[in-house]
């Protein structure tokens, strides 16, 4: 069993082979799925907690504060302490709420984000499923979360929640378009929707450089639209705490609230991963064709580090957005999408198609 931090393919295959030799195929598959599920569950929790901590630290530094610094060195156990606190909190039952939907909603939100992770390539050979329509799958699945938000708002029997949920519905449905179209721009350039191939194709240069200006525009549009899709500031209208107290999750408490909270951060992680994969080459090191020595040095850094670095950069950018800008109003939010992002995106795809047609890209 060869473990290689530059290429996980053989490692995974050896586990796969061992399992199939050892067990009947059906059970081997079950065991495999369970392992992957558990690994993802663990990673989900860890990444979620880390992101919450990171967000609090980042925003603190932007605001001349130090942020959490009491629990553990530099406060690294703060989020764990918070999590324990949330676990111990009472789950408040709301009078006249729709019990079933009220209880189901957080799970829908969290499952939607959980499903999207499956398709993301973390390093060479390190992904759960390599769909040949990976990009489309992620776009489709990640927008399922809005169902949970709508249900949460509707079933809470609270007007604030309802307003928040309706806002969120309008918002996500609109911005889904821009997310899809900006990814489509890159699909036009790459000619494939499979994540592994998308990454491989960037070995000679990331798409954001390869695709000239249209790729840069698509990147910016994707950043804006995906920030909106994850309900983060400045597009956090669904929970707009100065208007709607806490929006759709006003009535949630304890661990159910934690689910919403965690899902928000995981969604951010997912869109950052997609942005990193599609625009910045995923785990692919930074290559400049022609400079062999430089490329070798870059190859020396493990792909997982590249991936994490790029994702972290995009997450940092999204945090910078959140902690700098005031919130938009709902009609302005929709204006931004339908008047600016969508037309720009459409024209952008045309230009990109033209560039690809003429072979002007690198």
């Amino acid at each position: 069993m060869a473990f290689n931090i530059y290429d996980f393919t053989s490692f995974n295959q050896s586990i796969d082979k061992a399992l199939y030799e050892w067990l009947p195929p059906f059970w081997a598959m079950i065991v495999e799925m369970t392992i992957i599920g558990l690994v993802f569950l663990l990673a989900y929790a860890v990444v979620g907690l880390l992101l919450v901590y990171a967000e609090r630290k980042v925003c603190a530094f932007m605001q001349n504060r130090v942020g959490p610094n009491r629990v553990g060195p530099y406060g690294i156990f703060q989020t764990i302490a918070d999590f324990i606190k949330l676990l111990m909190k009472e789950l408040v039952y709301i009078k006249d709420s729709d019990k079933l939907l009220f209880n189901i909603a957080p799970f829908i939100v969290i499952i939607a984000s959980f499903m999207a992770i499956a398709a993301i390539p973390f390093a060479k050979g390190l992904h759960a499923i390599d769909f040949d329509i990976g990009i489309m799958y992620v776009v489709a699945v990640s927008s399922l979360g809005v169902v949970g938000i709508l249900l949460a708002g509707w079933s809470s029997n609270n007007k604030y929640s309802l307003i928040g949920a309706m806002r969120s519905g309008a918002q996500i449905i609109s911005y889904e378009l821009s997310v899809g179209l900006s990814l489509l721009t890159i699909v036009v350039l790459a000619g494939t929707m499979q994540f592994s191939q998308v990454v491989e194709l960037q070995s000679s240069g990331w798409f954001i450089f390869k695709g000239h200006i249209p790729a840069v525009i698509a990147f910016i549009v994707f950043l804006i639209a995906s920030t909106a899709e994850t309900n983060r500031g400045p597009f956090d209208l669904a929970e707009a705490e100065s208007e709607l107290t806490a929006g759709f999750h006003t009535e949630y408490s304890g661990i159910k609230f934690a689910f919403f909270f965690l899902a928000e951060y995981m969604n951010m992680f997912i869109v950052a991963s997609i942005a990193a994969t599609v625009f910045l080459g995923g785990w692919m090191p930074f290559h400049i064709s022609g400079l062999e020595g430089f490329n070798h040095v870059m190859d020396f850094i493990p792909p997982l580090i590249w991936y994490i670095g790029k994702t972290a950069f995009i997450i940092w950018l999204m945090m910078l957005f959140k902690w700098t800008f005031p919130r938009l109003r709902i009609d302005q939010l929709l204006n931004l999408e339908w008047k600016y992002l969508l037309p720009i995106n459409l024209v952008n795809i045309l230009i990109m198609a033209f560039i690809v047609l003429m072979g002007w890209h690198f």
């Binding site: 806002r167 005031p326 919130r327």
Partner: protein, 375 residues
């Protein structure tokens, strides 16, 4: 005997619904309760309900001597405590026809302006927070801290100072006062540029505030909206210019007037007022004359029987104090015309047919302080 009390019932149209903003709501900054009638997200009517923090300050004044009244006025508009104190002091000094030393006038004016800046800073950061820019909140508080330190060093407290007494001051200013104030102005001139970069020029902020809650000059006068909110509508109502007190007549400053009357205008007036206040302080800080820090006053102050009115320009608008005395050491009636209470009245008119997010922005731009509304 059966009596039918006709309470005015607000008829509710189809598809309209009420929400209660407050008494606990993040954007009402206290215990103000707004019953908002909405249609979808559009505000149809706003009914403010006051009284959640009513402490009966006006009634309490009737049992207090004039020296004791001062510490009560701190607690009305706690963000411009000095200016409230100033109003009482001016009222008593005017009634007794006491001439306070020049030094006191200078110090009072400088401290009032510092207080105004501190109040506007807090307004700025909570305004940013109401619009969703949480970082503003920390920048504003960070800079306000410097003023509070100046206050703490000289008067021993940070928010409720009770520093002015009828006839003068509690004690002389701290020897460091002038240096610290000058340092602060140097510091703040730099930091206020950040404020502009972060909020004033931001395209999202401009869209959120321009053309939102437009108040015409007539409305401002009819509703009595004074202070920066009134001046944003073009109503020249600065007491410091119109009825100068302290040494405002010796300092050179502009009355900031704008004509747009929207949320953005009210925002800009306050931003410019901070700069004007710094200008006033800079002119006065080096020229504080030597002298006593208080005039000779009798230990028991009795105002001659009669009615008195004194107004000052607080950070929120015109603060008026109406006082009836029967010649005793306590007043018979004290009435405070607090700016926040009057400015609240126009909220309903401004926010009709706006979105619920605009209601928050308008409320923040009027700079309401809830204890000032309820007293």
């Amino acid at each position: 005997m059966k009596e039918i009390i006709n309470l005015p019932v607000h008829s509710i149209e189809e598809e309209e619904y009420h929400i209660n903003m407050g008494p606990q709501h993040p954007s009402t900054h206290g215990v103000l309760r707004l019953v908002v009638t909405l249609q979808g997200e559009t505000v149809k009517k706003v009914q403010p309900h006051c009284g959640y923090i009513h402490r009966g300050i006006e009634k309490m004044c009737e049992k207090d001597t004039y020296q004791q009244i001062i510490h009560l006025t701190d607690r009305m508009d706690y963000l411009s405590a000095h200016i409230n104190n100033h109003a009482v002091c001016l009222l008593v000094e005017g009634a007794l026809e006491v001439e306070v030393p020049e030094r006191v006038k200078y110090i009072r004016t400088i401290i009032d302006e510092l207080n105004r800046i501190a109040s506007h800073q807090l307004w700025w950061c909570s305004f940013g927070m109401d619009l969703g820019g949480l970082t503003c909140f920390f920048y504003g508080l960070r800079d306000r801290e410097h003023i509070l330190d100046i206050f703490e060093e000289s008067f021993g407290s940070r928010l409720l100072h009770s520093y002015y007494t009828p006839g003068g001051l509690m004690q002389d200013i701290h020897p460091n006062f002038q240096k610290r104030t000058k340092d602060f102005i140097k510091y703040f001139r730099k930091k206020i540029k950040d404020y502009d970069k972060l909020l004033s020029g931001n395209v999202i902020f401009e869209n959120r505030s321009q053309g939102i809650g437009v108040m015409s000059k007539e409305d401002a006068i009819n509703y009595g909206v004074s202070g920066p909110s009134g001046r944003a509508s073009g109503w020249s109502c600065d007491i410091r210019k119109k009825y100068p007190y302290g040494v405002y007549d010796k300092a050179e400053f502009n009355e900031i007037l704008r004509t747009d009357g929207d949320t953005y205008g009210r925002y800009m007036v306050r931003m410019d007022e901070m700069r004007e206040s710094m200008k006033i302080i800079e002119q006065l800080i080096d020229n504080i004359p030597e002298g006593d820090y208080t005039a000779k006053m009798k230990p028991i102050i009795k105002l001659p029987a009669g009615e008195y009115y004194q107004r000052v320009e607080s950070a929120r608008g015109e603060l008026g104090i109406y006082c009836i005395s029967d010649g005793n050491k306590t007043p018979v009636r004290m009435k405070f015309r607090t700016p926040s209470f009057v400015n609240l009245g126009v909220l309903d008119k401004l926010s009709r047919d706006m979105k619920i997010a605009d209601l928050v922005a308008i409320g923040a731009s009027l700079d309401l302080v809830i204890p000032d509304i309820d007293r």
